[in-house]
Symmetry: C2
Subunit: 192 residues, 2 copies
Amino acid sequence: MAKILMGPQTLIYPMPVLLVGANVDDKPNFMAVAWCGIANGEPPMISVAMRHHRYTHRGIRQNLSFSVNVPSTDMVRETDYCGLISGSKINKVEVCHFKVFYGKLDNAPLIEQCPINLECKVVHILDLGSHSLIVGRIEETHISESCLTDGKPDVSKIKPLAYTTAPARQYQAIGDVIAKTYSIGEELRARE
Amino acid sequence: MAKILMGPQTLIYPMPVLLVGANVDDKPNFMAVAWCGIANGEPPMISVAMRHHRYTHRGIRQNLSFSVNVPSTDMVRETDYCGLISGSKINKVEVCHFKVFYGKLDNAPLIEQCPINLECKVVHILDLGSHSLIVGRIEETHISESCLTDGKPDVSKIKPLAYTTAPARQYQAIGDVIAKTYSIGEELRARE
């Protein structure tokens, strides 16, 4: 199988699309982010990479708290809009008709229409070059009751979005089930 | 829309599944990781969260380099196996029939069968609690020629896997295209 060198590249596989929220000068703002990650298990932490000059970044530094909201496929228009426009010019909450609510933290605005909402407190900010890597401890998780099956989160109801980078530049749904985890690999034990 | 509180939770939306590689005591080993993230743009960096006692973790600390390999849906069996078993007991490369090659870095083993391979040098290791967050600078990207269309990466040929956590516990394909990025959101500009 021939391999081609592409030089150092980021985001070459699809990543989850999230709406990261913060209060900036006491007003809620949201930006679309695909450069996110899970950072720790106990306590639960998440990471978000953000350019230094971002308006949302300013709010996160003001309050040392932020939110992570998981939009569903039917919010793709609003999600894309939140990646197109800066909150310094436009009130995105109004344009997107977001219903904003708060949980445990005073300055982590949450979007009611998003099926999942995380409230996060900043524990680290690493300046890595073009971006800050912001690590937040998850303080609370909210899920829409309509996205539960037997009281548990159901991905087929949450309908999250994946972001596929250039040249495709598209939002994609999470697709067919390929296999169960910690299960199909057992088949290879016969080769041990 | 009623919301339910779930307490602090990680991995509540599907994440990409990657095979992270390192040489441990000079022998290549790979583990399945979904707790990854994009950390920086220029220079390109990636983050991986890993429990401290992991065998692969030991190799990363020995060499301060690692690889990130993107498996395709037809490698789901091998990928799952690499999440089931520790390299301290089993030679996963042999069991999985991985063809290992090296690029720029001497100690970042790459899997030829994976359509995308990143070579990374460690720039930060943050101890966050149960896990270390390992931040690596991407030194080189390899892509299988068969996964290109007009010389560019084609997600429909790469066929990456997403990991959906409990209660589903399943690997899923990347699915239908929902919309183009930096495009569909323009429809909301009329509301500004």
